[in-house]
Point group: C2
């Protein structure tokens, strides 16, 4: 038969072997558990939305995947007007606008799903066309306390601490403050976003290039240097706040931003985030105009080359395209596929058991099948993940399967053991074995599993 | 501002409120836990595959959603050659063929992901264009023991028992047996699948219509009646096996099928599935030619109108389109979105807590913010899901939020309590409250949560 080559689409290629999938699922479980620990509720939204919903906020059309039938079909709304979501924020806005009456506000939601973006895939930078996002948002009607902005870092701190990905730093800044700084440097409103984009490259480009870009936007040589120095100098949070207090071109929006930032820095501490885990960093810019208050990025202290592993910020109105209700919020997104791929590369993934099946019941003789199956049932009833080797094979082959799949215990019973009503319990890590009466097998297996 | 209507695409509309999402997630968690209890390993595959991969086995092209960019873009393989998967079996075949060297066989995998099918949506029959499938398969190289066919019902029994969806029955049949029966009735090979399709309608159509269809396929009046009676008569498993033993037009494939079925029925019992939970049902036909041995369907005893809630079977070669390696297997799929929608309709969903956040720390006075936050941290450190009410609002409003979101405990502390270093702990179910020293709050909350 003519074979089809079993291959994946470029950018749709983050597919794991089972032991890697277990590691990935462990990260998702940690995120879920911690989000729920802070009272966030889960939602999922459909993969495809109406095109007009997706583009309402101005999504980049050439990066959006539209749907169409492979062969002509009758009436199909999805095919005519549907496309895959490119983030979880637009679907959230649509969701809240649709279901406003059924939700309790402040609405705290988490959402862990795949998104699709027609960008150029770059595996070495962790950029793919299909990837998981892992989002939390707190949304209220009309008003949202600054405390919500201070709480977000504590949730993230809780998640990343449990993921054990090494030392990380949550870097925060404030959009009003940035706006005030630009005003202080007399950057016209119309040029603000280009200037911010130039500043966003501080970590990747050399100082001269950034300053040249600033001058191209109309800043004098001296102003470009001064602005660069203000934003790029590495300081402690305390030093940064002091430097801002000394800023000479202060203005109303600057003062408002500085006041917010100072208050939020104090509250983040009260929320239990240690000083070592967060800092104010004026170089955190976030491209989106969407943000209006605190903005966040998080980097790994030991692996800054990985870039920001989660980011987000405060916004004034989530769903203005869909509803008259004003819905201020704050949110944050972990690019989980990207994080996983970079952690794997950097060797920072915490090992998990290679299989969820802890015990393998080997089978030596088909006459004893009921015996093997009863043993497996007893282990499963005790909550021990147990597989029975169902094929006919030499014991050696069964044990090599057990090793390959990562089992921790093998149970062996042939004629002698069955006659004595015992089972040989083999610790596959230490390669030691001992016979136990059938009635004691669960306890014996538990004892081995407890030694990790 | 001109508003966009917040609405969903037809068939892409199984979106839940948070408390429903929690119920849905509870079902997924049960499936995961039980699959792992039996040694199945998780995999996920990309949503989009190469079109030639998806259609290799002959997928229905007009039901497949292809991808294309919303606006013209440069080179994009996904857009030119990619489409969304319509099941989890074709991706599994591609996965195993691609990664054969890295997998340990027998390969037991589970996969819980969304699939997309351009069918006509019928909410009242639980048919949608986007839905979750929840699959398990056991695949080996060259040979697969019949015991794998007998084990599958025990896994399903374990899953559905824990889901507590009421009494269910796993109905099994055998494709060789069906083939032998048709041979016994001299149905030519070329007509076998049409005859099977006619028999597949036994439960939905009246006897006369089914028999007419059989006659249209060339069976005599008497033969159509006899075939109908053999297949459609309700019997116990024992009675069915006896009736088959008495079948007069026996032939080689019939005998082989009957032998397999008899052996597998015996083994299913040994795997611990009670007699009440499974039966042989000759009316289980499964349209796909793909199956070659045992076939399965499962129905709810109290709600037969829901139809089959999971189905599958034994096949001889998983990935013949992709590899020369012969990969026999057996698998089964739960249509989870459909199951959930039908269970919801039938009132069979087990209630889960409406929120994962168990305790709400109310906030009466911003001066005590550090106090409230410390309380929340203590509760979270004890593993209790805890939310702090961060907005400024009257206590009454905070308690009404707590009720609406489904919290079980509220913690209240104003000037008096803070001065005394106590907290009022309120049981929101019983509407009773008591003051406790701060040091005892965790224990007091635990006591309330334990009374369910």
């Amino acid at each position: 038969m003519q074979k089809v080559k079993p291959a994946l689409l470029r950018g749709f290629d983050q597919e794991y072997l089972p032991h890697e999938q277990l590691q990935f699922n462990a990260l998702i479980d940690i995120a879920r558990r911690n989000f729920e620990l802070f009272g966030f509720l889960p939602i999922e939204t459909p993969s495809a939305e109406r095109t007009e919903v997706l583009t309402s906020k101005g999504g980049v059309e050439k990066e959006i995947y539209a749907l169409s039938r492979l062969a002509a079909a009758g009436d199909d709304e999805a095919s005519a007007k549907g496309a895959l979501r490119f983030d979880l924020t637009v679907p959230l806005a649509r969701y809240v606008a649709m279901r406003e009456r059924d939700l309790a506000f402040p609405f705290r939601r988490y959402q862990i799903q795949r998104v699709w973006r027609g960008e150029t895939p770059q595996a070495n930078r962790g950029r793919f066309r299909e990837f998981y996002q892992c989002d939390i948002d707190i949304i209220n009607r009309d008003h949202l306390s600054y405390l919500a902005e201070a709480e977000i870092p504590s949730v993230i701190h809780s998640v990343f601490s449990e993921m054990a990905i090494g030392e990380f730093r949550i870097r925060i800044n404030n959009r009003k403050l940035l706006k005030g700084i630009l005003q202080g440097f007399s950057v016209p409103e119309a040029r603000a976003s280009t200037v911010l984009r130039a500043l966003d490259k501080i970590e990747r480009e050399d100082p001269a290039a950034v300053q040249q870009n600033l001058q191209r936007e109309g800043l004098s040589d001296a102003a470009a240097q001064e602005l660069y120095r203000l934003i790029a100098t590495r300081r402690t949070t305390r030093e940064t706040l002091d430097a801002l207090q000394r800023f000479e071109q202060r203005n109303e929006i600057f003062d408002q931003g500085l006041e917010e930032l100072t208050r939020i820095v104090a509250a983040i501490g009260e929320f239990g985030v240690p000083d070592s885990a967060f800092c104010v960093d004026l170089g955190v810019v976030r491209g989106l105009d969407y943000y209006t208050g605190t903005i966040y990025e998080t980097t790994l202290v030991g692996a800054p080359e990985v870039g920001s592993i989660c980011s987000g910020g405060r916004y004034d109105d989530l769903a203005s395209y869909f509803t008259e209700t004003r819905l201020p919020g704050v949110g944050l997104s972990i690019g989980l596929t990207r994080l996983f791929s970079r952690l794997k590369e950097a060797g920072l993934l915490r090992p998990v058991p290679r299989t969820p099946a802890e015990a393998l019941v080997t089978t030596m003789d088909s006459r004893y099948q009921p015996h093997y199956l009863a043993l497996a049932r007893a282990l499963r009833n005790a909550g021990i993940n147990t597989e029975v080797y169902l094929e006919t094979a030499k014991l050696k082959q069964q044990l090599s399967y057990a090793d390959r799949k990562g089992f921790r215990v093998a149970l062996i019973a042939g004629e002698t053991e069955v006659a004595r009503n015992t089972v040989q319990v083999k610790n596959l890590a230490t390669k030691t074995a001992a016979d136990h009466p059938v009635a004691d097998v669960v306890a014996a297996v538990r004892a081995i599993l407890a030694t990790h």
